[in-house]
Symmetry: D2
Subunit: 478 residues, 4 copies
């Protein structure tokens, strides 16, 4: 499953609200519903129209704000961020929103996504004398804005947004406005909601249910949304757009109760499970899903196949960061903290195990083994997406093909490696159909399928050379 | 659902291991898998054959042991406890295991259950000069042992075990042995497992999967299990036994991957859902369960009724104790932290909402409302157990009928109160059949059904008067 | 100096207040001024006339109460305790005040001192069935009270107070009264003060300055002071008394701004320094004291001898429990955290170094060495008390003569061991005169001088055999 | 006394070491001895020759590094900083050393002092597009270095050092070297020491005693000290220098065991006390000093006047940041945490109270009152420095004359305000003589006396206008 690689992605969650008497508190609850998008750090910046105050720290949202820190964040506008750490980036300095104090104003900035020309931009900026205080891509935007100097903040921002490339959903906060911007491909979801006269913006619509907001519209690729005391203004920084919504949001990242481009995530997953049953039926006694992200697909598979759906795998709800990991000796003895197979359900049964994806294969192998140890007679693995063979450069941190088992082995080989009785993946077309083509006239119905077929919707900039080298290496059998 | 009342029960989880080089560590992982049975406090006591060392504190297990406290717990024997706080009892002093140092020996003691004559015993003991340092029932047993004075610890223990009445699963640890004892009705589950030459004892068999142990046998009512360096000794303190396994363990408390009296909990729940579909079918578009404990029943209802099972309600996985609760203003605005209805799934649909039980009705009302706000066209509530109309005195802390909506209102009235389109409960017989009569020749197949029908399997001792008064009051319409 | 042995003593600080609207807060500040008497744990119990609530924990007072715990301690009466851990006793269970809940009432108990027949009493009580939950002597008193059963709490308490032997200053709190009791020798100081209509009781009078109280009188040996809503009642549990005030309180423990038996501690120390100058003058360039407890004596020595007093040794004010100790490698390199010699003051000078006492000699050796490394030409050590050659059984935890350098070596030998150019001690008579004979008609003017001459003012009970054995062993040259 | 104003100064402590196997640990102990120079935050950055790793946080050094953070700071070079917060600056972002990661290298930077043209420089830099992430002056230097672009780091640094004005002692760390620089007036002390082949640099020489280093030499004004694997290199960035050592370092800030410009701080203070006795003798019974910084002067006054020196005021050693402050009601009742007058010493006595300075007068008034409440018959205040009438712009944060009582009232008026029987200050010449003219040929013997006479040794840049306005305002009697 995709959670397999530590620091796998640069997924984050962002949330903002304008014109609400409890802006920071609303942001806190909004972020809480986005916590699944990032557990390494959290922060909120609020403004009372005069100054911006912020608080951020490493850890879960609840821990970051457990000592009354919200009380210091006065005002009617706020933005917040929950962060998923990438390798090497577990530093307080990288926790967002960033808060920049200029001589005459302040700016808070939160980012979800990954820039693909950040390295180049950063080098250029440093050569011009800029000092970066974090290793985060996000800081680049602030420097670009600062250097534009048209004398008009929105113009400066548009100039800057046209220089950064890749996947980005930005939220900015100044003393006078809250601003949202989405990259020209709309890789990451970003939606607008309303609570009475207040506007909210969030990475996922599940946040709207949590804070009692109603859905207004999605932010579209290339748009610049400005929300101030005059209301909502829809502007754009580019018209050169193409929808390439990250299909992984449907498959794995987003919460099942969110809608992306009008499509409910649980329903998309369930349809993918049904499609998988049609494409890759196997005669068995029980269907089970790997919790939590593969449950919906498993329900779909069961419903379509007529094989009963059971809780064959249980995830411990109390696994936390502070947990002591078993010593080597106990690991060998089979002590496990996170996932259990349910002997009473799988013993002596032919089991269909549904997972959302296979990254490196090690987790799949472990789960197959768990089921066998609990007495499963057969284990048939069905994956509710196509083989994951290409890295993502727009916000999922798989930047080398070496890590991806499907880039290096055939399906049969993978089946043997993970120890399954059979292994089948969903087809590309099957996935696109199951999700449902939000933009039917665009390639893949408006989805990004590059992880599966290498068809990247943009140039690769900083990653081009490395990517081509990795392709060549693999062709040469390395 | 049963989690509705704060401090609802006195459920706890206990675990012990003897003859293992990593006794305290094994106990930690065993308790981890029992964390759902108690989140208010945790503790472990270990012995190296000479002394007993312990550590305990308020909080989740992972927090209690996060600063290396396990390292101080040397030795090859250990017992541990996770505790569910009852009203008024949130005190460090009540966190178990208790550790008593006598002049010539030490004793650690952990308890799951509720004594029904503790008040009387305590008063007698205090009149004889005993000093109690906690408000916990558990301390009573230690004083009873200490006062028996036959000169033989096991004899003293048997004398004491015959004096305490009610529901109890005890684990004791001395320098030389680990001891387990279960009340004559076996209200609480307790099972024995084995890892090589080591024995483990746990409240639920799910702990065995976690620590890599194989199941040996359940502890039977009235048994006294002594595990020492000579192995496992099965003794008993009374032969006057009758099986009355708490049916709530199957319905709500236990983890779905545990087996109780050989019956898998998930499977029992799923069967109760199927039976409910047979007893109380309703034409609808989707079936959804209240997470987490009602998922299995919902799957069963869907499977039997042919109505699709969907994730119509989502529980936030990151709700923690440290979470700031929404201010009054935001609560009124509809900000909610724990549970969301999935608009994309329920909007415009006729929904069957499966729950395990209704206690006071307030939570059910809130969930029905959530579904309606998310656009459900109809909400039909189906409860996978009979109406909960009588208090439990054996370990579930519902000690007054006033709290129980089913003790005070008819099913039709409850339906109106919670705002459902229809409401149906599972029948008593249906529940007993669905669970599966572990002891077919005993009343209710060996289950305790007192919450549903007032048929208590023991005298009520300290609770008798109060209980009769409450019955009388209700008859008088108060 | 006396701080030399970790866990050297059982000195503690106790404080109580009755009839004050901010009872717990007053107790907090009172304990704060007594923090020097115990840094290992702290606690406060308060009563509102109906119930007793308490909070206690390991750590400094400020840390124990840093999260608003005081707010939960409502009421107009309170007692508190700061605790000095003894070897092996660093356990939360031993932190006081203890709070006992009986069926019809509650009792809080705090103790400063050491019982010399606790072991015997404890054994007797355990044989009668009592269960002890701590390793602290203090619990014995509660069991003795509970077992007296005259039906009258004060009578029960008097019976109990006549059974315990040794050094004890007790404070008790019930719903109706605050009670103080002092052992028949008055080893430990205990004084009564007043703030308007409120009474306070404290281990040292320095607490009165801190809380704005005026001094009323000392508690006398054998007295039982009851303070309730009718005011102050002076009673006694025995008339068989003799003053034996711990001379170490004057020499080392008490704060210089406290008065004990009407004698200011700083002044007594300064006089001891003057007397030392008369008894043991040495021609030198500077006088310096080992901070903090020897400063007063050094000032006195300088004033009497005419040699300038200088800050030749500086104590780092920021040394805390959380401090990381230097690694072995750095210790060898001379890295030191606590005490520095002042090169600019001692370089090339003949230094008189005043200390209050020498226990094992290791600290003195280290300080002499510090001064030499900083360039001192000569180091003459002068000790402001006689050689410490006998253990204390009344509250200072030196219970074996083996530890005491003066019990095993002559003054000349000690001088060589610590590397001084000369070493002289104050005479016994000199010390008694310098302190000032608070009770001139009693032996040693009412002081306990047993540490210096073995003249114990009571029988030794539990310690008798061990003590005689150690004397015999030393006579035999072991 | 000078500690009177919260956030009074920008004093900090800096420390560095090069070529030591335990560089971070040595830095920790070095900073520990400098903790008196800053208690609000602490940090250390270390290098292993390849990368720079750092850790910093708000709080005391011991708290910042209590969870093993030192272990992550590998390498043989390190610099550290302890910080005194200024008003409004209590932010993690301002805690030093700052760590800048450039594309090809890294730089750590720590600063003690105050720049007087920082505002101007910052504005210029921001106009050129620089983004500042802190409100600290220190960041300015990094931007200036970065913008110099000679291609040679040391040249860039020299260019930058010639642009900043005011008081600064900098320490920098790169992968290859540790660098120290001192402003052209040498306002702040900075010294070089040696441990075998390792070099250390510290704000005060007391750190050398702590880490076992021997003194090598002071850093001189305008010098740039580079320490790398080739050893110690002495360079300079300007030859336009003049010694203006902050006299407040001798009077108040520095630890008594430090030497500044070869003069021991305790000895200078003692001489100031002696000189004060000669200039302002008063017939009295006892001399007492306000702890801790006025003790040395009090000893000197007593020695010269022949009046006995006593501990008439006691400072509670356990006052910490976490301490709960007395409620308003208790403050009025006289509850006090920090300082106590010793009744047994001052009752009925004529007291000479020595303090180092008077800032706003409120603290002096409180202490005089304390002494009177403890029974002092007369209180004669003697200040061991001249009236403090002018703000400091070089690192002591008194930037407005309004706060300074001596800028607004005559000595007689101040005497009345603080309630003393008499008040006398040390003369300017008396102070200069007592300290001892480290550079006899320079004005005031090389000391900065501007706080006393307004004779600022540099232009005032950003502060000029405000300062002149305040002078004018005062002349006009405002």
């Amino acid at each position: 499953m995709l959670a397999e690689i530590k620091g796998l992605n640069e997924e984050c969650g962002i949330f903002g609200v304008w014109n609400h008497s409890q802006a920071a508190e609303i942001t806190y609850y909004g972020l809480h519903s986005l916590q699944h998008r990032g557990q390494e750090g959290a922060g909120i910046v609020a403004t009372d129209g005069k100054v911006l105050h912020g608080h951020r720290n490493l850890g879960l949202l609840a821990d970051v704000f457990k000592h009354g820190e919200l009380e210091g964040l006065k005002g009617t506008g706020a933005i917040g961020h929950v962060r998923y750490a990438t390798a090497g980036g577990k530093s307080l300095g990288n926790v967002q929103p960033f808060l920049f104090h200029f001589s005459d104003s302040s700016l808070a900035l939160a980012h979800n996504g990954n820039l693909i020309n950040a390295k180049t931009l950063r080098k250029e900026l440093e050569e011009e004398g800029a000092i970066f205080q974090t290793s985060s891509d996000t800081e680049v935007l602030a420097h670009l804005i600062k250097r534009s100097r048209t004398g008009d903040f929105l113009k400066d921002l548009k100039v800057a947004l046209n220089k950064v490339k890749g996947g980005f959903a930005y939220m900015l906060l100044t003393e006078n406005a809250m601003i949202a911007a989405l990259d020209p491909n709309g890789f990451r979801p970003l939606s607008i909601g309303r609570i009475g006269d207040s506007y909210v913006v969030a990475s996922e619509t599940c946040a709207f249910e949590t804070v009692g907001a109603e859905f207004v519209r999605d932010v579209e690729p290339g748009e610049l949304i400005v929300i101030d005391d005059d209301g909502l203004h829809i502007d754009s920084f580019t018209k050169d757009i193409k929808h390439s919504i990250c299909s992984m949001e449907y498959i794995y990242f987003a919460r099942p109760d969110s809608n992306i481009a009008g499509i409910n995530v649980h329903s998309a997953r369930k349809r993918s499970g049904k499609q998988l049953a049609r494409e890759a039926f196997v005669d068995a006694d029980v269907v089970t899903g790997v919790p939590d992200s593969s449950i919906s697909a498993a329900i779909g598979y069961a419903e379509e196949s007529g094989i009963p759906y059971e809780l064959g795998l249980i995830k411990n709800r109390y696994v936390a960061r502070t947990f002591i990991q078993p010593s080597q000796e106990l690991r060998e003895q089979g002590v496990r903290m996170k996932l259990s197979a349910v002997r009473g359900v799988v013993e002596g049964k032919r089991v269909v195990m549904i997972d959302d994806s296979i990254v490196r294969g090690t987790t799949s192998k472990r789960i197959v083994n768990l089921l066998r140890e609990a007495g499963a007679a057969e284990v048939h693995v069905r994956i509710a997406s196509p083989p994951l063979a290409f890295p993502c450069f727009y916000g999922i941190d798989i930047q080398t093909r070496n890590e991806l088992i499907a880039a290096n082995y055939s399906v049969d080989e993978i089946c043997k490696i993970i120890g399954a009785d059979s292994l089948r993946y969903l087809s590309e077309d099957g996935l696109v159909e199951a999700i449902g083509k939000p933009y039917p006239d665009e390639p893949y119905g408006g989805l990004c399928m590059a992880y599966f077929n290498g068809d990247y919707p943009t140039d690769l900039y900083d990653y081009e050379a490395e990517y081509l080298a990795s392709l060549a290496a693999q062709k040469n059998g390395i």
